[in-house]
Amino acid sequence: MYVVPFHSLGLDDVTLVGGKCAHLGDLTQAGFPVPPGYAVTTMGFEEVVEGHLADLLASIDPDDVTALEQKAEHVRTVVEALDVPSEIADAIAGGYEQLSADLGLTEPPVAVRSSAVAEDAADASFAGMQSTYLWLRGVDEVLAGVRRCWASYFNAEALSYRAQHGGKSGMSVAVQYMVDARVAGVMFTLNPVSGDPSSIAIDASYGLGVTVVGGEVTPDSYLFSKVTRELVRSEIGAKEVECVADHEQGGTVNREVEEERRMLPCLTPEEITRLADIGRSVERHYGGPQDLEWAIDRAIDEIFLLQARPETVWSQKRRTVLAESPLAAIAATFMGGRPTR
């Protein structure tokens, strides 16, 4: 099974399709607005890539930093040039054709993104670095995108990390219908600065969300209260560039945002509320704070979720100071915060 559509995936499929695809599948099944797509499973990666690289990988010395970078680059060049067996290539192409049929579009634009299978979050984040390819059209571009995602598995940081920590991992790839984003960004279902779980923090800018994730713009920053359902704070960012489809060359291009649009809020209060409601539902669905990527489609004005992962920093900390009893807590107040024992 080389490809599986999102609507057939769930959280149990992490080892087959990686965390990103498994979550997209689960969100799709739960009825959240996820653009349709499919996962290229780790089976293809294992057969095509790992089968050919055992010797090459064994020769890597993780402590030799200079050599490591060169080796990694070499590995990636090898991977990007590999012949994909026709059985696998046909499956990937079949997935794309099915997606086109489902959407009723000829050569629909897609995003191709890595979805690493890793035993811990650090490895997963190293492995997935920078491997998002947007606005690809047609089977050939999709296949090239998949190979580049596979190659991204072998960046220097990830190689070094795996050499030191070991662990079984692999790489799956998500092929997902491309939302033509008017506005996009990230959303935390808690305040990432204070850790307040009653807040939802949204960073948003014009165009695709890559400018926000990659730190290329100062986005608008909104803080929304889940309880009072009010906008607690909004800071309007400079938003100088936006990443949009390059309809002539293919792929995407960064272009300047016109002066008069830069300092305007890119989301309306109503959109913020809708986003926050979706964020809260996803958080409830998973029973914990989430880190989400989202986009609003230019043509149909709908919100789409592009990625969901558990928030890991604050959700593992305990913030609240507990006292033995209300009386002990009050005693501590009168003590000006000093311990009462």
Partner: protein, 603 residues
């Protein structure tokens, strides 16, 4: 250490107010003999309770409170980190400082007494509140019945010969002493439960802040709001009287700009008008014993003695009722909303332990906090109004005997000087000659009035002395909103660039023309849609709250009366700005942001 605020010894007396010191007792003045010690401490202006220069007699309101606060903090509850609060007067204004305990061994020792004593109070709260009420009621009854004898030409035969009573001169002195005692006793009761009620509130607030750092104070207060409090009752009576006027068809008499006397005169002339007056009389006792101020100055008369505020309010309420608006406090809505908010926050907590603590703390807070509002009616309003009225009668006796022209002139003598004056008048009456005070007092009273008028124009610095690194006394933070951060902002003169910064006390944003009100008696000038800018707002100003767009005050912390009322009315409010009444002029267009605590002067 640097002085970020002036030394108390460097504060200049404004021209025309020279000699202000002689109207206050020696123990309330900064003493140059203790310069080193006193200048290196941190004193802040208690404008929240004492926003005007203190008439000599009125200093008792401060003295009586600090007798009790320190008694409970230091000697009864043995709060480990604080002994009590000291106060001083500078150019007629009250400055306070807390005496903190820093020796760890001493803190440890005090803790052993502290825990069981406060534990007893919280465990027996309802019984102790009931006991408190009985004791307060008894003092109020005694103050109500207190007889102030006049000095007649001849004593009554029955009283002196047959009943063998004390002479009027003795009884006058005893009645004065008794009034002082009763007022002091009421103030002991004032703080018996109050500190503990605030302690529970602050603890819940701190818990919320640690669990939900972004939670605003207003949201936290909403979880406590909606309780029935005696403090709301006088205003409810005004609303009922407004409705009654419409019911009886006499509402036409209540028009803007008319005085209470004019309205009443017209009402006396008709049968339905007289019926309305009968209803007014029935509702007045005791609810019109509400002070027009906060209950700390003699000139803030009770509504019963000064009908301007209640009648201004009723004119407004009648207009609102005619326009089809609801006047009732939205209690049901407040209660439903407080449950929803509390439930949602509880659900957001990570563990069962946290949820249990949240529930227990909130429950305790809702149980004990209503006392913090209700006590005000009995102590600061009813009891204090009765006390000042008793002193006014003593003043009438002194005035009759030529000590000064008006009964109210007694308030320009301090409590000890009144004692002396009563000895004087009693001796003179018994001795058959005019009192020495007839020459001594008139010119002093005149001079003191001039001094106080001059001092009223002076702006007291928000603090004096040296700013501490941290402020440990939690009551200071809670009640006065004084934090080290706040002080730095005051010292730097924040708000010089057209903005006024304070505490975001009640959320929301509003714009409107400013109405600067420095004296509660000017409250009638407030027009619909204006932004009220005042030194401090008192609960009895509630009647103008439906009129105004927002409220801004110089003074006040998160627990200040203004903040509590504004949150209940859902009115944007910024409190504790330090100098809003000086920076903003009546008619300025201002924008009040109750979310950020910033007031912007637009033009």
């Amino acid at each position: 250490m640097s002085h970020e605020f002036p030394s108390p010894f460097d504060v200049e007396t404004p021209a025309g107010a020279e000699g202000w010191e002689e109207m206050y007792p020696y123990y309330l003045l900064f003493d140059p003999a203790r310069r080193e010690e006193e200048a290196n401490r941190f004193w802040f202006y208690n404008g929240m309770h004492f926003p005007e220069p203190m008439p000599a007699f009125d200093m008792i309101t401060a003295e009586s409170c600090y007798l009790s606060i320190g008694l409970y903090q230091g000697r009864v509850f043995s709060i480990p980190t604080v002994l009590g609060i000291e106060h001083r007067v500078v150019n007629g204004y009250v400055y306070i400082t807390s005496n903190e305990v820093s020796d760890p061994a001493e803190i440890e020792k005090r803790l052993e007494t502290f825990l069981p004593r406060i534990g007893y109070y919280y465990a027996n709260w309802d019984t102790l509140v009931a006991r408190w009420q009985v004791e307060v009621d008894a003092r109020i009854a005694e103050l109500t019945a207190l007889e102030i004898p006049r000095l007649a030409e001849l004593e009554d035969e029955q009283e002196l010969i047959h009943d063998h009573k004390l002479g009027s001169n003795y009884r006058l002195m005893a009645a004065y002493d008794q009034a002082i005692h009763l007022y002091n006793e009421l103030n002991q009761l004032h703080f018996e439960l109050l500190l503990l009620a605030y302690g529970a509130y602050l603890t819940f607030f701190q818990f919320c802040q640690s669990a939900f750092p972004d939670m605003g104070l207003q949201t936290m207060s909403q979880m406590i709001a909606g309780f029935d409090t005696t403090m709301m009752r006088p205003d409810d009576e005004l609303k009922a009287l407004a409705a009654k006027a419409i019911e009886l068809g006499v509402d036409g008499s209540f028009t803007e700009g008319r005085s209470a006397e004019e309205i009443l005169e017209e009402l006396w002339a008709s049968e339905p008008g007289r019926e309305w007056i009968a209803d007014l009389e029935a509702r007045k006792h005791p609810w019109f014993m509400m002070s027009t101020g906060d209950g700390f100055y003699h000139h803030h008369r009770a509504w019963a003695d000064d009908l301007r505020l209640p009648f201004t309010a009723m004119v407004g309420y009648i207009a609102q009722l005619r326009a089809g608006q609801e006047l009732d406090r939205p209690r049901e809505r407040l209660l439903a909303e407080r449950e929803r908010i509390a439930d949602e926050y509880r659900d957001l907590l990570a563990t069962d332990e946290e949820r249990t603590q949240f529930t227990e703390m909130l429950g305790l807070c809702r149980h004990v906090f209503p006392h913090a509002e209700s006590h005000k009616f009995f102590i600061e309003h009813w009891g204090t109004s009765l006390f000042f009225n008793a002193i006014r009668k003593v003043g009438a006796v002194l005035a009759e005997n030529g000590f000064f022209p008006e009964a109210d002139d007694i308030f320009y003598l301090n409590i000890h000087e009144v004692h002396e004056a009563l000895s004087d008048v009693g001796l003179a009456w018994a001795g058959g000659a005019p009192g020495r005070g007839t020459v001594y007092w008139p010119k002093r009273v005149e001079r003191r009035k001039e001094i106080l008028a001059t001092l009223a124009e002076w702006v007291p610095p928000p603090a004096l002395g040296v700013v501490p690194e941290v402020i440990n006394d939690p009551t200071v933070q809670l009640l006065w909103g004084v934090t080290a951060e706040r002080l730095r902002a005051w010292a730097s003169g924040a708000g010089d660039e057209g903005g006024v910064h304070g505490y975001a006390a009640s959320p929301g944003r509003a714009e409107g023309p400013a109405r600067v009100v420095r004296d509660v008696n000017e409250i009638g000038t407030v027009q619909q849609g204006e932004v009220l800018v005042c030194s401090v707002t008192a609960p009895s100003w509630a009647p103008v709250f439906p009129k105004i767009a927002a409220a801004v005050s110089d003074i006040g912390g998160m627990m200040s009366h203004a903040a509590i009322i504004a949150r209940e009315y859902g009115l944007p409010a910024v409190v504790g700005t330090g100098h809003a009444t000086k920076q903003i002029k009546t008619g300025d267009r201002v924008r009040v942001d109750g979310d950020t605590g910033i007031v912007t002067i637009l033009d």
